[in-house]
């Protein structure tokens, strides 16, 4: 059991990293990665949303959609769940950590339509990687996916902070060098696909 959870976790964080290997959730990855601080905040918000989303969507899927034969409503139902969660996180942040709320800006509501979060929910159901997802497993998977996102965005923010002070050729300044960096990071993460258990 434990080893299975570990495999799921390592798989979601490193081998099938949501951002760098599956290319989900690129928008906040590029948008909120200017500073390590905000990137960490965004990462934590995504971890929380993914955790809750995978738990809630599992319940919705197995107790509402499957018994009534409504699997075709998956996307709508899941988006509804995710939207509510994000709204909740937004209210919470606005009240408790206004500075983080301000620096996340528009990207916070954008988690609603973030394909990474929906991807977690859908992957949970489609027996991702041939693993049958129980409730515990889907929570572990969701959290790991969030942690993977956080790892990617924080690493990337670190690189970008370093880029600020480096001598970049004029034609690569700004977004171009950021995209090149993201691609290199992604190639680096491909190395994990050699991990086997």
């Amino acid at each position: 059991m434990i080893s299975e959870l570990l495999i799921i976790s390592v798989g979601a964080i490193l081998i099938n990293n949501f951002v760098l290997v599956q290319f989900l959730g690129i928008c906040p990855f590029l948008g909120v990665s200017k500073k390590v601080e905000t990137a960490t905040g965004m990462g934590m918000a995504v971890v929380f949303v993914m955790l809750c989303a995978s738990a809630l969507t599992w319940v919705v899927q197995n107790y509402l959609l499957v018994p009534f034969g409504l699997e075709y409503m998956q996307t709508i139902a899941f988006i509804l769940v995710i939207a509510v969660l994000v709204q909740f996180v937004e209210m919470f942040l606005q009240k408790s950590i206004p500075s983080l709320y301000n620096s996340l800006g528009v990207y916070l509501p954008l988690i609603t339509t973030n394909c990474a979060v929906l991807g977690v929910a859908i992957n949970n159901i489609t027996k991702f990687g041939g693993v049958e997802m129980s409730f515990i497993k889907s929570i572990v998977y969701g959290t790991s996916a969030g942690l993977g996102f956080m790892l990617a965005i924080v690493l990337f923010a670190g690189v970008r902070e370093r880029l600020e002070t480096s001598n970049v050729p004029e034609f690569l300044k700004g977004m171009p060098i950021v995209l090149v960096t993201a691609a290199l990071l992604s190639i680096a993460f491909l190395g994990f696909s050699g991990l086997s258990f």
Partner: protein, 263 residues
């Protein structure tokens, strides 16, 4: 039919439950927003030009309500808006001096010597990269209108190869001054009508070679100014707008015609 009904009921039910939950949460996590902020936003022009020094109108409104910020910083709205904001905040309005952007170059192509003809993209930054632009003078207006494209108020235009500011439309937001790669646009008090339309700090001989209307730093204006408002520094004269009384003696004495009345 019943399938459709079940689907509607379940998704609708989910929606309602979530709605109620969010409604409760919004009460618990309610944040007090200063009610003056939307009122001030209403009064502000909403151009989001950043002329006040804040990220936009809403940032300025927030800063105003937080205190410690003067209500007269909006260059677009001017005195009228400052008064309204002061009413809302309940503080006394201060007169803000009208500022305006001045282009410190008058070297149209017939006056300034050209080095070469620039064929590249029609924007000043591209031209500036290539040997500092077409003009011999390294401080000359490039005339490709990068300032025109950033002006949100249509107050600046390039007609004879040099940018010209429409004082009536200019709100002194400073966007053009920031954009200009040559940094020859300055935000100056509007009350001084005379400006030294040159920024060449080169020696007089070189300036004279490069441009027919460049300031050569001879100092005749400074000597003739009755108010001692002109100082020559680094081979270029500068008028202190606070001392200037718009007599126009400097403009008439300048041998290079580098001092001009710009309304």
């Amino acid at each position: 039919m019943s399938n459709v009904l079940i689907a509607v009921l379940i998704i609708g039910g989910l929606g309602i439950i979530f709605g109620i939950l969010l409604g409760v949460a919004s009460k618990i996590f309610a944040v007090k927003i200063d009610e003056r902020v939307p009122e001030i936003l209403e009064v502000l022009p909403g151009a989001n030009c950043g002329g006040c020094g804040f990220a936009g109108c809403s940032a300025y409104a927030n800063a105003l309500c937080a205190g410690g910020v003067k209500p007269n910083m909006c260059p677009v709205g001017g005195a009228a808006v400052a008064e309204k904001i002061s009413d809302i905040l309940g503080v006394q309005a201060e007169e803000k001096e009208k500022m305006v952007a001045r282009v410190l170059c008058n070297g149209s192509p017939d006056r300034a010597v050209q080095k070469y003809t620039f064929d590249g993209p029609r924007d000043c930054h591209s031209a500036a990269v290539l040997g500092g632009g077409e003009k011999m003078c390294p401080h000359g207006c490039l005339g490709f209108g990068s300032c025109v494209s950033v002006c949100k108020f249509g107050a600046i235009s390039v007609e004879t190869g040099v940018a010209v500011v429409d004082v009536e439309k200019c709100v002194a937001c400073g966007a053009c001054a920031l954009e200009c790669p040559k940094k020859i646009i300055k935000i100056l008090p509007a009350k001084s009508k005379y400006t030294i339309t040159c920024k060449s700090v080169e020696k007089g001989k070189i300036t004279r070679r490069d441009c027919a209307v460049g300031c050569i730093g001879c100092g005749i204006c400074a000597k003739n100014c009755p108010k001692e408002a002109i100082v020559v520094k680094d081979n270029v004269a500068v008028i202190d707008p606070n001392k200037c009384v718009n007599c126009g003696i400097c403009a008439s004495k300048c041998p290079q015609k580098a001092i001009n009345k710009v309304c």
